[in-house]
Subunit: 448 residues, 2 copies
Amino acid sequence: MTRTVHSRFELRAAELHPSVDDPALHSMTFLNEVSHRYPDAISLAAGRPVESFFELDSVHRYLDVFCQHLRDDLGYSEEEVRRTIFQYGRTKGVLHHLIARNLAVDENIDADPESVVVTVGCQEALYLCLRALRSDDQDVVLAVSPTYVGLAGAARLADMRVLPVREAGGIDFDDLFSVLRHARGRGLRPRALYVIPDFANPSGVNMTVEDKRRLLDVAAQQDFLVLEDNPYGLFSDTDERPPTLKALDTRNQVVYLGTLAKSALPGVRIGYAVADQEVVTAHGTRTLFADELAKIKSMVTVNTSPIAQAIAGGRLLEHGCSLVRANARETEHYRVNRRHLLNGLADRFRRGDPDAAGVSWNSPTGGFFVVVTVPFAADDALLERSARVHGVLWTPMHHFYLGDGGLNQLRLSCAALPPEQVDLGLDRLHALVTESLTASRKGAKHQC
Amino acid sequence: MTRTVHSRFELRAAELHPSVDDPALHSMTFLNEVSHRYPDAISLAAGRPVESFFELDSVHRYLDVFCQHLRDDLGYSEEEVRRTIFQYGRTKGVLHHLIARNLAVDENIDADPESVVVTVGCQEALYLCLRALRSDDQDVVLAVSPTYVGLAGAARLADMRVLPVREAGGIDFDDLFSVLRHARGRGLRPRALYVIPDFANPSGVNMTVEDKRRLLDVAAQQDFLVLEDNPYGLFSDTDERPPTLKALDTRNQVVYLGTLAKSALPGVRIGYAVADQEVVTAHGTRTLFADELAKIKSMVTVNTSPIAQAIAGGRLLEHGCSLVRANARETEHYRVNRRHLLNGLADRFRRGDPDAAGVSWNSPTGGFFVVVTVPFAADDALLERSARVHGVLWTPMHHFYLGDGGLNQLRLSCAALPPEQVDLGLDRLHALVTESLTASRKGAKHQC
């Protein structure tokens, strides 16, 4: 079984785990490549948070504030402070009590700090959940589609199949029942449903409170967990935000996935899971699902950088653990930008204008994203042309669909841009759409 | 398929991924529990680095130094500096060029910065490698046993089997050939061998340069990668350190796994892989193995906290990217402690003393660990008694074996303790050993 000794060792891609060839990855790679090839194009594509409020000095301040909290509020000695910040530490993290306090203050969620697992971004939390829930290849996860691309990636790493459920402006219950029935008919076990109920990525859509309650009832009847991901719920047009699924969860059916990437700093890479479900062992003993997730975490990243946690913790502490208060400026920025984007679309694509026939968009009341529907294919080729000829980037929606869909849709983000850039971006998008409409009309005439 | 709706949702442990029931995990849990139950016991068990040199102010300084490096050496604008530190960033990291420089300065390794993937500790690097190399269940990884418990954990998460290879003071080549032959005979594909060649955890053992060269030849002939983990190589008694496997690697067969946990700060959770192998796709195009690992990383943790990377980077920059220089004090501390431990063992267990018959130990010339062999079972029950009655903690070696072995061995670590605590710990260990020898002699008489 020896082979010719090459001068250099080579690997064959076909002999690597199939996840490295995942369509979701190719999507991300393609989108990154386009934005790299056209660095001067205005990006209505990027989902990153606004940067203009970042201050280097704040890092020093946050770290000091957190250390002072350890001394003053938790009674730590200097030695204990240094050990907490610098040494290997608790697998579930050192920020759990502040996250629990934040969830109480901002979301009316009553979370036991012991049920909180601090993770390296929300992506790790998602991976831990799927890895834990996939005991064999009959276990599957459902996801409202279109969805966050990281869901498909995490599932692929856990070798877990994802079954799409139609969105229909929230969640299509008929389709949910149908997917559950078909899955069980094929001997599969639906373990969880992944959903972003508030100002979703990519759709901007919200589930109604009524639908949230109904989803919890269905999950209870049909015995699956709900993985609620909530990166954008904070950034709402109205100060009266609707309750999250977790706030409505009286039966421990919801694993709540949070991130401080959008609400504190992306650069700390801090996310978390609230996993308060009880796990019953063969011996009848009970643990928390959070502790099972922590076991898996100990094999992936051991623990989350306590220095990074401390910096995020300082930001929480400076605002009484309220991210609503901490993000007053950011939320206002996103509100202004979103309205600017929606008004800008209305100005450029007027109802009744034959040059805008078939162009429509939704009107999210929060979050980072707006979806535009067009009467032609908004595919990768059009994005490439848009970047090259018109100097504007957006995201083809089909990348977010599990399976088919979204070919006539674009996702626009206005999170990171100043308003004048949004205007310029929309002017360029308008030129692209007009050109494409003309081309498709010509094509239609040709066909006649 | 609906079931009775419980008032609270419960999960069954048997329906979770088997990794949460992994023996390696139970080992860690048991060891942590014992040390928690007996907080006043002196710990010759913990493998953490020395804490006395940690300074909170250094974090601020390191961050500033790294930002200045971005401005002065890389020509970044203030906006680019802030974006690098705070925003989502490069999947392979922002510290790659400094790690490459460090490897050149300290290890005579010529690493292309593009082949470096910065990870959340070395554990993530290990997981990425195993996940990538496990394309189906015929793919297995070999590991010199006893070994680091995190190897078994990472393999379990990737659903990859681990085949142990005997250590025999380095690596037992006859056993290696036998394991390779048997594996191939059963249709398995050995993809890689995991080894800590210098001052290994747990054994403290070093591979000779001759054995390192031979291992590289075997790997080339038999077509497997070598995963070289090197957390302790820096902490050597002699300033002339032997070359790493990677420094001897002329055929890109070695993936070098590094960590800044022991040499910079555990609390930054920064590790890395140098993966300079070429990967050939079905279309004949070529990528670096590092880029395939980065794809997987994007699905696990997206990217490593750039703030944590910046802090680690500041420490590197302050010492011209030499961790040898940065760790002058630490290395001296470990040298003094190791000699103190070895001399203390020799003082307490004298050759020819009938009260020490059958007690021996190895004499590592670097690293954190020393292994003591005793003529009785050094198992979990004895550790519990040791903690409760004698007030001293150590690690039963059997926890580090893949399969059987190590039942008569203890791992001692002297990394974190001051010398007077080492003395006290050894006095207590001596009392335990004397008691156990007496008990086993009585047991032997009983049997007669």
